[in-house]
Amino acid sequence: MSTGRTDRDLLRIEELNVSFSVQGGMIEALRGVSLRVLPGKVTALVGESGSGKSVLGQMVMGLQPVSAKSSGRILFSTPDAAPRDLLAMPRDGRAIRAIRGRHIGMIFQEPMTSFSALHTIGDQVAEALQVHTVKSSAERRAVTEEMLGLVGFDDPARIYRMYPFELSGGMRQRAMIAMALICGPSLLIADEPTTALDVTIQAQILTLLRDLQLRRDMGMLLITHDLGVVANVADEVVVIYRGKIMEAGPVEAIFDNPQHAYLKGLMTAIPHFDMTPGERLRPLRDIPLDRARLHGAITPVARPADANPVLLSVRGLRKTFAVKQEQWALRGKAVVARPAVDDVSFDILRGECLGLVGESGSGKTTVGKILMRGLVPDTGTVTYDDGTGPVDVLRAKGEVLQRLRKRIQMVFQDPVSSLSPRMTVGNILSEPLDIHSIGTPESRRDATAALLEAIGMDRSVRNRYPHSFSGGQRQRIGIARALTLSPGLIICDEPVSALDVSVQAQILNLLKDLQRDLGLTYLFISHNLAVVDYMADRVAVMWAGRIVEIAPREVLMRAPVHPYTRALLAAVPYPDLARPLDFGTVGQSTAEASAAWPQAFQPDTGLTPLDLGSGHHVLANPAADAAELRA
């Protein structure tokens, strides 16, 4: 497919400087950035949030905000013409518009909001054809449906008529890829194309992108923060930090022999499966935990010797959400509601961290909400016993419930929306104490100050509002809020999935230290297996509302039995060139793959949890024997 290819770079950025004027000065987003994308090759631009990597993608397309001031050159070669400087083209003028969508396609991070909800998928995908080609509407439709089929939709004609909100995130990202590639561009800019997706969906989208990129011999500028993705897809890597290129080169050189301290730091900050027990992640900026202060502010959990080792016991939890009927049809369609949580039972032992893993829609967050009494399950029991006698969590009322609320706290996924923007940090932290009438206003102030200092923040931050903090700092505030009441159990619902890699390591270490020093128990909900591997003592895997496998961490990670657990593990991209993703198998969706599971795991065969010994349970057909399962 290399006919007509010349040696020149497809995209060449030379000495690009971009700055934004803001109140009180200039922000330099990019400083002297140079990089290239070769025809038919993938260049990965790696950096954390705020590094300027997205601005670079916008600059190439001319989508930057009006206030951006720039200098340098962005040279792009179309197949039929000499390289032209995109930066010199008038904003939104004819010249740049002829390149956008036609020669350069772009994929955005947020598949949810990057589509207009009011227009059909077909309409939005076909639009670029309408602008750039002379085709009748029937021809456009045919080309669009062919493209939708190419990105993996079984029934393109139906998808053509559907609206974006009717599709899942992964499906939308497929449609987005179809939209970017419909005119057959020679360069694709993918800005964090898989960040908002689950690990299994991410593997599917990466497979698709790689496949299309190779098949169409297309150059790609992949903007990402995930070194695992980079290792699996990129040919060349460019590392950017605070607007400056730190390191650039072929992917082998970058991974085998990282030179720059930043890149080295980034690599040691990622949790991976080969860590020795007790090995700590090394974040770029570590937070020392001030134990003396911590113990002054928070009472460690008492651990009576003779108490029941099970802190929280969940039995037979089931929850089905009522599905809203089709009110626009003349006759209502019968909708079969699948339970979101289906017969879930597990124990959390005192002082352990139980990891709960699964893709979105598997019901893991629903379980967390039920434990917090945020949702009422249809059936099932939850018993909490911290040594003072068992409490029925789901039926607790009045005084008992009030006391229980102090024992179970939650850390949320989104550090932005889980802190009220109208309250100061001090108010946010002292509110729980306020609600439970603990101490005097002065003692609450002292306690929150001590707590903030214990987790490495200055006591003066009490007077500031959440918006003035970074994501990692906000998540620390969220953790501090969960700690103020000295709880016994903390439910962490994807606490690091919205954070950068280096900050993620910081937060994970903080959570680990807190657990050790305060004797906390965690239920750690996440879709990221590597993170769970780092945090958890035992791991439960959820699929379609059921726990399909539960085992001690090292057993589950080294010797998984259930095919879903195996698929999850296979879908994790390692930041290691020696362990590439198997693109042949991870491209399948779980629904497709589940059809090919061995008979013993088929959902319609009356599954029950089977004991494989040493706390390893797997959901399978009771007739199957252990040897057959392990095959």
Partner: protein
């Protein structure tokens, strides 16, 4: 879709029944009735009241009957177009209101069109040229428009029209045509008068709508789907028309529900100042003199308009927005 509309129409019925009860209770609330205040007024003037005629009317409209009977008669009458009898005008309500209702409709309709025609381009300009001199100037004018009460503007315009041009800008038509049947000359007279009340009444609405359209559009312009559309190579104008403007339309349509009644009832003071032949001044007089059937009919009329307006805007919204039509929120 058909089912949805049917259901919406059916749920309107109990709403309207409830409103009619409330209206009836309200117009019955003041002590006494029209005849008592009428007789008292005549006697105060030293005139002889025609007690026989009054007795006859009382009997005919069931004033000696219990309230619920009168309520049923009133509602029953309205159902087949008998809105009762205006005691003050000594005419059936429909005859009294007749012409004025049409004039009110015309005035309101033209005002809505004026509001939209002016607000749309200004709002779009303001949003796409945020923080430019044009935006600041229009914002200033808009705030003036919101802040100055309509009747005040009417008074000011009347004063200056008189002082500078020697014109009287009151009324909706020349006085010669007021009671004349509709003909071409009358229409021309109306058209030459109508623009002044339209501008005055529409001013605040226009200014408010510009502000809201600007805010909505600015929000939409920052959404990622706009960047997506630009990345496809669409021209800025086409991006604007197809995506953010379409989104911002929603609130225009949601407005219909409140615009209809506001246009009828909100312009009363202005209408009095400009002595317009619309229904507003008549409603106020009817309420003052306890002319209960006239007042009641007006109130019911406003209620029906409100309910209809909401129905129309709901159906239009559902047609325009698939998220509503398909009965699902933006699921994660």
């Amino acid at each position: 879709m058909v089912r949805y509309i049917l259901r919406r129409v059916v749920t309107m019925i109990p709403t309207l029944i409830l409103i009619s009860m409330l209206v009836f209770i309200i117009i019955e609330l003041p002590p006494g009735d029209y005849f008592e205040s009428y007789v008292a007024e005549l006697q105060a003037l030293g005139e002889q009241a025609d007690l026989d005629e009054i007795e006859m009317l009382r009997d005919r409209y069931g004033f000696d009957q219990p309230q619920y009977v009168r309520y049923v008669r009133w509602v029953g009458g309205m159902l087949h177009g008998d809105f009762g009898y205006s005691f003050a005008y000594r005419l059936p309500v429909s005859d009294v209101v007749g012409d004025r209702l049409w004039l009110t409709f015309i005035l309101s309709f033209v005002t809505i069109i004026f509001t939209w025609a002016v607000a749309f381009p200004i709002g779009i300009y303001s949003a796409t040229h945020q923080y430019s001199w044009g935006d600041y100037g229009l914002t200033f004018l808009g705030l003036m428009g919101v802040a100055v009460p309509n009747f005040m503007l009417a008074l000011i315009m009347m004063y200056f029209a008189n002082v500078w041009f020697g014109l009287s800008i009151g009324n909706l038509m020349d006085s010669a045509y007021v009671d004349a049947p509709m003909n071409w000359d009358k229409v021309r007279s109306i058209l030459s008068h109508i623009w002044i009340p339209v501008v005055i009444i529409g001013m605040a609405g226009t200014a408010g709508m510009v502000r809201r359209l600007r805010a909505n559009l600015l929000d939409e312009l920052r959404k990622p789907y706009v960047a997506t559309a630009r990345a496809k190579g669409l021209s800025p104008g086409r991006v604007l028309r197809k995506y953010p403007l379409r989104m911002a339309l929603n609130f225009f349509i949601a407005d219909i529900g409140s615009i209809l009644p506001a246009m009828i009832s909100g312009a009363e003071v202005t209408a009095i100042v400009l002595s317009l032949e619309t229904t507003g001044p008549m409603l106020i007089r009817a309420l003052q003199s306890q002319d209960m059937y006239l007042a009641g009919s007006f109130l019911m009329f406003l209620a029906v308009l409100t309910v209809l307006g909401v129905l129309v805007s709901d159906i239009a919204l559902a047609l325009l927005d698939p998220r509503i039509r398909l009965g699902r929120g933006t699921a994660k």
